[in-house]
């Protein structure tokens, strides 16, 4: 009797053990269709592309070293552990997993990564669009960093100058297969047309999906990769196919979501209420990295008053950010006072001058400041923005109204994007022969005069120092001509070894935000929120700024 009981107990125990070990198998299959009206990608040969859609498509088939969750915590992907930085901040050590394979069965090694850097990205026959991310200034010259293979799964990247935020660039690295790329080395035309790269045939187990089909301007189809290196324990991904379907207008995409034809799409702010009411749809409001602002032309062909800080403050005093967020963004935005969003770990609230919201929203005071600066006569300013972008046009109209209330007449000009770039952003010093650029120095002016411009940029919440291209005196995209030595100095320090220490870095950014918010080189308007709508049957979604980070774990119920 006792013996049999023991056996029974043993059986019971083993059954329980088995049951807990076998998780409820997630249903594998189904088609996830993501709808978009933002336009097709340009190429799958992503090293040549500069549009985000191309990286997006290719990204389904190859993972980067590391990614981030909604709280910016590092999530390992093809890296075996996080990128290590030496104490002096000059040597970065990357260790990759040992189970990564190309489609021909060969292992992905550190050699592939170093080859991608040295022979492709740094080469001058390829012209990698983002090669300056890997350069540093040494002795007045732009030099490339030095990658080096250590062993099969390890390689280092050595710098000569310290740049704490370089680690973010390193973490995003994706390799090209050396054994295929060598065939096309040196011949950029052949490389561009290489069938292996344009059909993603080499991706092996590096990504949750494998390329299946791409019908231009219609849909991009990838199918489940059963060999996915992250899928060994989890069985991920759980969708049989992932499709990006392109629509001509956002209205058509919305209609498709409503009809249940697609699984996910972004919803325009004015349609959110309609979709929130629907039974089968979940709408998640998430922060984005994009922000809208009103640029002041500080160059010689803009209104001279804009060069005076108090005048800029006056204008920013008069324009209500809340109004813009309410009327143009339908409430889906957060007022912006600097280029660092609230969701960034570098964000600091205290000490920021918050123009445009109470109490720094006062039209009377604005008028007073203008008079003090010597501008009490009636004034007409020109506001330019790109035609066809509803958001920016609407902001233009609102600014016209707000400034009209303090006695400034605003003339609106909507021009096509190409014209905006060529005639209003690019500038050159008059009387010289130089090529127009986005920032040709202090004396340069754009071809057409302007005073105000509605624009949008995007920021990297992890490394806001990248925004120095806009706000430092020599910044390559500083088209509005802002120059302030204190700001320049703060940017420089944020990129130096001083910033290696987290606390010091945060303090530097706090100081930078304070100065910028007070200086008002531009009137920061709002950080936009996006609305992502999914069919209710999609589970596993974690809404947040990086909600796609775990998309390989989503499933249908």
């Amino acid at each position: 009797m006792k013996g049999r009981l023991k056996i029974l107990l043993l059986l019971l125990a083993s059954v329980c053990l088995l049951a807990s070990a076998c998780q409820p198998a997630k249903e594998v299959g189904g088609v996830f269709i993501s709808g978009t009206s933002a336009g097709d990608a340009e190429t799958l040969n992503w090293i040549l592309a500069a549009d985000s859609a191309s990286f997006g498509y290719a990204g389904h088939t190859v993972d980067s070293l590391v990614t981030y969750d909604n709280e910016w915590r590092v999530q390992l992907r093809t890296a075996a552990r996080d990128v290590e930085v030496s104490d002096d901040g000059l040597v970065y050590t990357v260790t990759i997993r040992d189970d990564l394979m190309w489609s021909d069965g060969s292992r992905v090694t550190a050699e592939d990564y170093v080859y991608t850097l040295e022979s492709l990205m740094f080469s001058d026959w390829l012209n990698y669009p983002y090669k300056s991310d890997w350069q540093e200034e040494v002795g007045g010259e732009a030099v490339f960093v030095t990658p080096q293979v250590v062993d099969e799964t390890t390689f280092t990247i050595t710098r000569q100058t310290v740049y704490p935020e370089f680690i973010y660039t390193v973490r995003g690295l994706v390799p090209y297969p050396k054994y295929i790329a060598v065939k096309y080395e040196g011949d950029v035309e052949a490389f561009t047309q290489a069938p292996e790269f344009n059909n993603l045939t080499y991706t092996g187990n590096l990504g949750p999906y494998k390329f299946k089909e791409w019908l231009r301007n219609d849909k991009f189809v990838v199918e489940r990769n059963p060999e996915y290196y992250l899928g060994k324990d989890t069985g991920a991904p759980y969708f049989g196919q992932y499709i990006v379907k392109l629509f001509g207008t956002s209205a058509t995409a919305h209609a498709a979501l409503e009809a249940g034809d697609i699984t996910y799409t972004d919803i325009d702010p004015d349609k959110v209420s309609k979709f929130k009411k629907m039974e089968g749809i979940n709408v998640y409001t998430v922060p984005t990295t994009g922000y809208l602002f009103l640029a002041y032309n500080l160059r010689d062909n803009g209104w001279e008053g804009l060069k005076i800080k108090e005048v800029r403050q006056a204008l920013s005093l008069a324009i209500s950010k809340g109004l813009i967020i309410e009327q143009v963004l339908y409430g889906f935005g957060e007022p912006a006072f600097s280029f660092i969003p609230r969701v960034s770990p570098c964000y600091v609230d205290e000490g920021i001058a918050k123009y445009g919201v109470e109490p720094l929203l006062d039209k009377e005071e604005a008028k007073g400041l203008l008079i003090n600066a010597g501008y009490d006569k009636p004034l007409t300013l020109t506001l330019v923005t790109n035609a066809g972008n509803d958001e920016r046009e609407n902001i233009g109209y609102l600014v016209k109204e707000e400034l009209g209330a303090i006695g400034i007449e605003v003339e609106l000009k909507f021009v096509p994007w190409a014209t905006l770039l060529r005639k209003y952003l690019m500038n050159k010093t008059p009387g010289t022969d130089e090529e127009p650029r986005y920032n040709n120095g202090a004396g340069a002016v754009s071809e057409e005069p302007w005073d105000l411009m509605v624009m949008g940029f995007s920021t990297n919440p992890l490394s806001p120092s990248g925004q120095d291209v806009f706000y430092s005196t020599k910044g390559g995209l500083n088209f509005f001509g802002y120059s302030n030595t204190q700001v320049d100095e703060l940017f420089r320090r944020a990129k130096s070894e001083e910033a290696l220490d987290e606390g010091a870095r945060k303090e530097l950014y706090a100081e930078l935000s304070r100065v910028i918010s007070e200086e008002q080189p531009v009137d920061f308007l709002a950080f936009q929120l996006a609305n992502a709508a999914f069919q209710k049957k999609v589970k596993g979604i974690e809404p947040g700024i990086n909600m796609g980070y775990n998309y390989h774990l989503w499933y249908f119920e």
Binding site: A50, Y130, S132, D133, F247, G248, A256, E435, R437
Partner: protein
């Protein structure tokens, strides 16, 4: 005698066709390259952010696509490749132009085919009936409707049909779904709205023409003779009158085909989201993808030339009274 004349005529026409094709190719090519924008434009803002020199960037990008060579070299290269079957690389979609056309032509083709069939059938039948029952109520209604058909802006008609049948009534989808196999009822169903949009304008024209051609012939003597002989009315109309009116009608249908492809079909494709050649060429224009634009222009020109030539030859062959010089 006649055969040799015909052969000479064909040769002469082919010769002219080649000249015309070359003229079109050259004009298009020049237009594309003369424009101030370049495929490097979209890289510029991205790269300038990093302090790169826009002129250098443009030069580098253009080198990637072989656009840095002097223009006459590009031109001859292009023609040489064209003749050998290489239609170039479309950089806005990163695939060979021929592949691009091969995968997308079928969508335009099915749209045009069904629209033409619908328009021709409906147009001819209504036209005949209208002519035979001239001045009757039906005639007036038909005439009125054909006026309307010609006058309706076909892109607006498309939007209205979508509004009514897809948005309000929910009978159709608001976009074209390519995952539905081409040879299926589902595909036919989703083609209904686009075909009606494109076909209405064409149908109106055919109705009017058939009607007036029939009327012209109905007055003629041979009709009286046929009736005097005691032939049933349907035979008179079907066999005799119609036969005479058909030839010019076919010509008109053929001419329409040539112009429709990149006229009404273009807009219809854009509105309904059908990934046909019209939509491809439209996107290519906006992306400065010259290879695609030139290729599509050439194709449509070839089509028109070929159709015209075929029609003229068929005419000359069928009607012994005709002789071109």
């Amino acid at each position: 005698m006649r055969k040799t004349w015909l052969r000479d005529y064909i040769i002469k026409r082919l010769f002219y066709a080649v000249i015309i094709a070359w003229g079109i190719l050259t004009i298009t090519f020049v237009l594309v390259r003369v424009g101030p924008s370049s495929p490097a434009d979209k890289y510029l803002s991205n790269l300038a952010a990093r302090g790169e020199d826009p002129a250098q960037v443009t030069a580098a990008i253009e080198a990637r696509y072989g656009l840095d060579k002097p223009i006459h070299e590009q031109y001859f290269n292009y023609i040489g490749n064209l003749v050998r079957g290489d239609w170039g690389w479309s950089f806005s979609t990163s695939m060979p132009v021929i592949e691009l056309i091969k995968t997308h032509w079928i969508y335009s083709f099915q749209l045009i085919l069904f629209s033409t069939i619908l328009a021709a059938l409906a147009g001819i039948l209504i036209g005949i009936y209208s002519a035979v029952r001239q001045y009757s109520k039906t005639d007036y209604i038909a005439t009125f409707f054909s006026f309307i058909g010609i006058s309706i802006p076909n892109f607006w008609l498309g939007v209205m049909l979508i509004l009514l049948f897809a948005v309000q009534l929910g009978l159709f989808k608001t976009y074209y779904d390519t995952s539905i196999p081409l040879f299926s009822l589902g595909n036919l169903k989703q083609l209904i709205l686009p075909v009606v949009t494109l076909g209405t304008g064409m149908m109106a024209g055919y109705t009017r023409y058939t009607r007036s051609a029939m009327l012209d012939n109905l007055r003629k003597d041979f009709v009286r003779t046929a009736r005097a002989k005691g032939l049933p009315e349907t035979t008179v109309i079907g066999k005799h009158v119609f036969r005479n009116a058909v030839l010019p009608l076919v010509t008109i249908i053929m001419f329409d085909l040539g112009s429709i492809v990149f006229g009404g079909a273009y807009l219809t494709e854009i509105i309904f989201g059908i990934p046909g050649l019209g939509r491809i060429s439209f996107n290519a224009i906006f992306a400065d993808d010259y290879a695609v634009v030139v290729a599509v222009t050439l194709i449509s020109a070839f089509l028109v030339l070929f159709i015209n030539l075929a029609t003229d030859i068929a005419y000359a062959y069928l009607d012994p009274r005709i002789r071109y010089d």
